[in-house]
């Protein structure tokens, strides 16, 4: 999973739905930690589509 920092509004929504506690959201950036399984759930809730999921990243 990858977050487009220009689009991301730092709302923290993705953190709440990630079943693997795999998202770190500080004031400056939002992104995955090593627990991310690329399951794609967070991408479904991002209100601005800042999250890309998939192998091609």
């Amino acid at each position: 999973m990858k977050v487009d920092q220009n689009l991301c509004l730092r709302c923290g929504g993705c953190v709440g739905v990630c079943p693997f506690d795999a998202i770190e959201a500080t004031d400056g950036s939002v992104g995955p930690n090593q627990r991310c399984t690329d399951c794609g759930i967070c991408g479904k809730v991002c209100p601005v589509g800042a999250i890309r999921v998939g192998k091609k990243l």
Partner: protein
């Protein structure tokens, strides 16, 4: 900052700040940690608050944060039938549209004045656990990493609370219970009345949620919507752009700010105390499932949590059993209404756009000044027997 406190509060939203203030007022030493560098920024969605909660918190509405009083609502059905309700007649309430940037900071200042220490720009990334017991938090601030000891940790870190997960609870939220919200602050817009909250229901506008227009003054409004993660086919912001473009009063307005937020709408968590970790606000999902409004409940829960935690610390007993008084008290205060809202939400979600139109058509002919909500629902069921089974839970 000390290295050891009675209470560490993670998150400085309304729930965290009110909890910190109440705990500090009760004599506990309190540290509140906030990942954002500026409390209240970025704003999350929804900025409406009821007058009742301000009274309970002994807060006098100040024009710097209570920017616009509201006293009525308009609910618009998918085909455009409007139901207008003067809120006070139905629920006995009026409210305010808030400037959250000012309000959240004001609540934090009250906590500080009560004696709480505050660290902003400080990211909590783990708990200190010894012998299976939470003894503090690990955090990263401007001066690097540090650990701070705590007898009790209050998790006010929002929906899907990571603090609670680290304490061993499974708080990750299901897509079915999660609204993705996005909001434009707009200027140069027109609406029916500055004191009227507008809600738009339609699977086309906002699948599984609704769109709102909350006036912030003449020609200024928060315009937003929430969509259910499991029903939306596009990004929330795409739905919002479409909504704005289709509304004559909004289409020519300018967007001066974009906010976003995730809203838990599946009802409060069953368990809100785990060991010496206490969950408040969105972390405990104390959110009105029908409206998605969470500030009222967050503040009420924060107040109770702060009081109970301070008492527990004074008594020297911070066991889960002792801290469960918090859970008992908040459920006593608002458990029933949360259940009712959840029921109502589930009923609404089960209605088709056509059924919503039928309902609105009947409701638009009701004189709300003469009829109670229950009578109204009864009348409704009579006129739409097919809706009966869906609505019966509400009466």
């Amino acid at each position: 900052m000390e290295r050891s406190y009675d209470v560490v509060v993670v998150g400085a939203g309304p729930a965290g700040s009110v909890a910190a203030q109440a705990a500090a007022s009760g004599g506990a030493s309190v540290l509140m940690l906030e990942r954002r560098r500026e409390i209240g920024v970025p704003v999350q969605c929804g900025e409406a608050l009821s007058e009742d909660v301000l009274k309970e918190m002994k807060l006098k509405p100040d024009p710097s944060w209570a920017v616009n009083p509201t006293n009525s609502v308009k609910i618009v059905s998918p085909s455009g039938i409007a139901v207008r309700i003067s809120e006070r007649r139905v629920t006995g309430k009026v409210g305010y549209i808030l400037n959250r940037k000012v309000f959240d900071k004001y609540l934090a200042i009250r906590a500080a004045e009560a004696g709480a220490d505050i660290r902003v720009g400080t990211y909590v990334y783990g708990l200190v656990v010894r012998d299976g017991r939470v003894c503090g938090v690990r955090a990263r601030g401007v001066d690097g990493d540090f650990e701070v000891e705590a007898k009790v940790v209050i998790a006010a870190d929002g929906v899907g609370s990571r603090v609670a997960r680290w304490a061993g609870m499974n708080t990750a939220i299901k897509l079915d219970d999660f609204e993705s919200g996005v909001q434009f602050q707009m200027v140069g817009v027109d609406f029916e009345s500055p004191s009227m909250l507008e809600f738009y229901l339609s699977s086309r506008i906002a699948p599984g949620g609704y769109a709102w227009v909350f006036p912030k003054g003449e020609h200024m409004a928060n315009v937003g919507l929430g969509v259910l993660g499991s029903r939306a086919e596009r990004r929330a912001i795409d739905y919002l752009r479409d909504f704005v473009a289709r509304m004559p009063g909004l289409a020519r307005g300018k967007v001066v700010e974009i906010n976003a937020g995730g809203i838990p709408v599946g009802g409060p968590l069953k368990q809100t105390v785990k060991g010496n970790v206490v969950l408040v606000g969105d972390a405990a999902r104390q959110v009105n499932a029908l409206t998605g409004g969470g500030i009222d409940s967050a503040m009420r829960a924060g107040q109770i949590a702060g009081e109970v935690v301070a008492d527990a610390i004074r008594e020297g007993d911070v066991s889960e059993k002792r801290l469960r008084e918090y859970e008992r008290r908040w459920r006593e205060k608002m458990g029933k209404s949360h259940e009712k809202y959840l029921k109502a939400k589930n009923v609404l979600l089960g209605l088709s756009d056509q059924e919503l139109d039928q309902l609105a058509e009947t409701l638009s002919r009701v004189d709300f000044e003469r009829i109670s909500l229950t009578d109204m629902l009864r009348a409704l069921i009579k006129s739409h027997p097919k809706l009966l089974w869906k609505l019966r839970g509400l009466v």
